[in-house]
Amino acid sequence: MNLYEKIISIYPELAGFDFASGVITLQNDSDGKGDYIKEWNHQTLPRPTEEQLA
């Protein structure tokens, strides 16, 4: 399960959310560190914790 799928499992209401809008940005710099949350500026949903995403 990749990061996007983990976030959707934590917040199913984000399934139709536009992750390209700049509010929540997921990124992978192809440096071996994998996908990560670059920006999380959602007005109501808090940024998932590392424990939730583990």
Binding site: N2, L3, Y4, F19, A20, L26, N28, D31
Partner: protein
């Protein structure tokens, strides 16, 4: 009054002749106020002007599996052309040490299923700089391409290509992706 001196060469034996063309109009040739060899019509002017031009073209050597809804750096790891060694294929970025204006081209092609869209962007110095393309309405394959001019400072500035697919099991296609560019004007 400045003067014109035609000087011979003590070591040479040939005779050099300055001859008039077949024309009926009076003309004056003005020498440039600089030192150096003056080009003639026999000189390869095109080669002179392009032989040191910065240019690069890099591709993906293998397909790149990526995550949906995630900005992912395209791993351009194979150089078809890299005139000055400014493209680092180990970290997939272009960082010229000659300041000036560059034309940059990016083409990205992907495969997957249920493709909703593909967005491509150029990142400059690690941050989004410009959207190259935004395409939607595909099913199993998609592509985006674009070009623009930008200024590079010749020291710290660097460029990378990023893609953003919304699809199931997306992957960037090795045979159809290219990151290229060339120096337009030193500045």
């Amino acid at each position: 009054m400045s003067k014109v001196v035609i000087a011979g060469d003590a070591s040479g034996t040939g005779t050099f002749t300055i001859s008039a063309p077949n024309g009926n109009t009076d003309r004056t040739l003005v020498l440039p106020d600089e030192a150096g060899t003056v080009l003639t019509s026999a000189s390869n002017i095109a080669q002179q002007s392009t032989q040191n031009q910065v240019s690069f073209a890099c591709v993906l050597s293998t397909d790149q599996n990526v995550s949906s809804n995630t900005w992912t750096k395209i791993t351009f790891d194979s150089a078809l052309l890299d005139s000055n060694g400014f493209f680092d294929t180990t970290v997939n970025k272009f960082q010229p040490t000659i300041a000036g204006w560059y034309q940059i081209n990016l083409s990205l092609s992907m495969q997957g299923s249920s493709i909703a869209r593909l967005i491509t962007r150029i990142y400059k110095n690690g941050a989004n700089f410009r959207m190259i393309s935004y395409n939607s309405g595909y099913t199993s394959s998609a592509a985006g391409t674009g070009s623009f001019l930008l200024y590079m400072n010749g020291s710290t500035d660097y460029l990378e290509g990023y893609g953003y697919p919304t699809a199931t099991s997306p992957k960037f296609k090795s045979s159809e992706c290219e990151f290229s560019g060339f120096l337009v004007r030193v500045d």
